[in-house]
């Protein structure tokens, strides 16, 4: 089965080069020159496996495109930022991106990221069929569903994977590095902001009071744990 990728990038030459490399890796790449075109192409649900989104776009900027995609779609989004340490990264993650790559990005890094992204969103091996219940929250890993107070919660696949890792640890504290490795497939030098921003997004969806969380708890100086 072909994996389909939507590339939203305004620079024609860069678009062409990335398409060449990704096609080599077996991706079917659709190109969009700006946010409007990208959003039009995304209107058809389930058409793409992943979106590669440049944050600096003419017209609607990347952050806004990200937010609009998230309103209707949980497709994994990898954003392309100019700099790793700029505020763009945090803002992009807040807007709903799953991961990021920085320019000049090499095809090798990009392909590895996309593989990790699909691996974690695609398969559900090792998930226990028995739902994990914590107070008002019920996590059904076998059907990728989270139910709070009887209502299903819409999580992106990365958020779900993060929650699953924490829930499967059964109250053990997981460090940011461990979570980076398990959820994003990063090595030692991953960006712990990925974890922190995703935890924040997750709390906003599953906690009654995100500022005083009861399910996903920060253990100062160590990491996060799930549970009472």
């Amino acid at each position: 089965m072909d994996r389909r990728l939507l590339l939203i990038e305004d620079d024609a030459r860069l678009r062409s080069a990335l398409t060449l490399v990704l096609s080599d890796e077996g991706w079917v790449v659709d190109e969009a020159v700006d946010g409007e075109q990208g959003l039009r192409l995304l209107a058809e649900p389930g058409r793409y496996d992943v979106v590669l989104l440049d944050l600096r776009l003419p017209g609607i900027d990347g952050f806004e495109v990200c937010r609009r995609i998230r309103r209707t779609n949980d497709v994994p989004i990898v954003m392309v930022t100019a700099r790793q340490d700029s505020h763009d990264v945090v803002a992009g993650l807040e807007a709903g991106a799953d991961d990021y790559v920085t320019k000049p990005l090499s095809a090798k890094v990009l392909v590895a990221r996309l593989r990790a992204l699909l691996r974690r969103t695609g398969s559900r091996d090792g998930a226990e069929p028995k739902p994990i219940v914590d107070d008002d929250l019920e996590i059904r890993l076998d059907s990728a569903m989270v139910v709070r107070n009887g209502h299903p919660v819409s999580l992106t696949r990365t958020e779900l994977k993060l929650l699953a890792e924490l829930a499967n640890a059964r109250g053990r504290v997981l460090s940011r590095e461990e979570l980076l490795e398990r959820v994003w497939g990063y090595d030692y030098f991953g960006d712990s902001r990925l974890v922190d921003v995703h935890i924040r997004r997750l709390r906003a969806k599953i906690e009654a009071e995100p500022a005083a969380p009861r399910h996903v708890i920060t253990v100062r100086g160590m990491g996060y744990r799930f549970g009472p």
């Binding site: 860069l14 340490d85 700029s86 320019k103 000049p104 990005l105 969380p213 253990v219 100086g221 744990r225």
Partner: protein, 490 residues
């Protein structure tokens, strides 16, 4: 050489502005003191002496009148001069009938200098100071015209002389002290007058050490306002210029990122089709690939260095195990060269991991490219407490006079042989990153040849994990002071 010598000699003669003010004050004070002392001396001594002379003359004249009156009655002159009983301790002598008669047994005519005696005997009216038996005296001679003799009275002046000596001592003391006071006054005045100059020095120093926002405060002083204004204008222009340069460097490297990305990926694409190219085509592809990699790194370094110059506040500090960080930062092939002192194991440093990784990578790359290959990477504790990370190579080493210079931007090796690509910014960036962490980076000679680049960072032993601060981007506010019993630490 001659020039040097001359300028050195000249420098020794040049006093500072402050020194000159002090010296001027001291000289003026000395001149005033000497003038006043001389004037006082002349005035006071003359006044006192004239007064004493007048009194002595009046007394002598009165006595002479008495002597003359008595002599007219033909009484013996010796008894007469002895009976005079002069006040003020003066002694009387009488020249009468070609003979000297003394009123005091301690004094005889022979004690007086002969010229004076002759003048007295010749009947001259005189007043003269003489030294007799070691003391100053005033001799007053009054001719006794009626009886053809001379009356001489000798007044002691030693009390006056003592007064004069005290006066002289006082004046000399004042004269000596005055320049010292002048010096102090000059120092005080100089400091006061030059205080604005100290401010200028401070501000200029701040600008020189990189704080381009340092300005002089505007004062109401009309003498200083122009200097302050000029200084501030200059600093402002410099600041704008540097900011402009930084913006330019940042913009350029930003603009270059997209084309570099295109290049990197196009070459990647070509590389997968390497087999389809002939030999020369492959060679060209390799060249292209190497150069694009180098170009990419240069763009990255340029951006990074200009961003730090601009004072980017994006330092993401986290407690990190120093030895572990080094282990992760060096290439897999170099792991066996890593030598961690057991005492340094577990030492924590508070660093931006990405920056420090970059620093160590740059140093190991430098060793590989320009130092004849990496030989050893060590981590050891040092006083402070600090941790020292040393990267050693087998190259020719860095000569002493280039040891500062190698950390400059786009520094090149001394020999053309050493013009290996990529020297550019690596060490400068490493130095900048280390400075940002309040550490030090230097290069020294390795024992056994080669260079040894040492990074020294403030470190501390792991105390309690609770003391660790959470990363910057953690907005969670939940507090759980207890450790759950099933928490396991890795």
């Amino acid at each position: 050489m001659t020039n040097n010598h001359r300028s050195h000699r000249r420098r020794r003669l040049v006093l500072g502005l402050r020194g000159r003010v002090r010296l001027a004050f001291a000289l003026v004070a000395a001149a005033i003191a000497v003038t006043i002392a001389i004037a006082v001396w002349l005035l006071v001594t003359n006044l006192v002496y004239e007064r004493r002379e007048g009194l002595s003359l009046a007394q002598a004249t009165a006595t002479a009148d008495r002597v003359e009156a008595v002599l007219r009655t033909l009484s013996p002159p010796d008894d007469l001069v002895k009976s005079l009983g002069n006040p003020a301790g003066s002694m009387s002598m009488l020249w009468y009938q070609d003979e000297w008669h003394s009123g005091d047994p301690t004094l005889s005519a022979a004690d007086l200098p002969t010229p004076l005696l002759e003048r007295l005997m010749s009947g001259e009216r005189l007043q003269q100071r003489v030294w007799l038996t070691g003391t100053p005296r005033l001799v007053v001679g009054i001719p006794l015209t009626d009886v053809d003799g001379t009356y001489a009275e000798i007044f002691p002046l030693d009390d006056m002389e003592r007064t004069f000596r005290t006066l002289a001592a006082t004046l000399v003391a004042v004269t000596l002290v005055a320049p010292l006071l002048g010096l102090l006054l000059g120092a005080w005045a100089g400091r006061r007058a030059l205080r604005p100059l100290t401010e200028v020095t401070r501000a200029a120093g701040a600008v020189a050490s990189g704080d381009l926002t340092a300005r002089l405060e505007a004062t109401g002083d009309p003498d200083l306002a122009p200097i302050a204004a000029t200084f501030n204008r200059t600093a402002e222009a410099l600041h704008r210029r540097v900011q402009g340069d930084l913006r330019f460097a940042t913009n350029v490297s930003h603009e270059l990122r997209t084309p570099v990305t295109t290049l990197v990926n196009a070459i990647d694409h070509l590389s997968t089709r390497r087999e389809q190219l002939d030999l020369s085509g492959r060679k060209a592809l390799d060249l292209l690939g190497d150069e694009v990699t180098r170009f990419e790194r240069l763009v990255e370094d340029l951006l990074e260095i200009s961003r730090t110059d601009a004072g980017a506040d994006d330092l993401l500090l986290a407690e990190t195990d120093a030895a572990e960080l080094v282990r992760q930062s060096i290439p897999d092939t170099a792991r066996r060269l890593l030598d961690v002192d057991p005492a340094a194991d577990g030492l924590l440093v508070r660093v931006d991991r990405r920056r420090l990784e970059r620093t160590i990578t740059n140093l190991t790359q430098n060793a590989d490219r320009h130092g004849g290959g990496l030989v050893r990477v060590s981590v050891e504790p040092a006083p402070g407490p600090t941790v020292r990370i040393a990267v050693e190579d087998a190259g020719p080493g860095v000569p002493a006079h280039l040891r500062e210079q190698v950390f400059e931007r786009f520094a090149r090796g001394a020999t053309s042989r050493d013009r290996t690509p990529g020297v550019g910014l690596g060490l400068a960036l490493a130095a900048q990153h280390v400075r940002l962490h309040e550490g030090r980076l230097w290069v020294e000679s390795r024992i056994g040849g080669g260079a040894r680049f040492v990074v020294e960072l403030p470190a501390h032993a792991p105390s309690h994990r609770q003391s660790e601060t959470p990363p910057a981007v953690d907005a969670s506010t939940d507090h759980h002071p207890w450790d759950p019993p099933w928490v396991t630490t890795r």
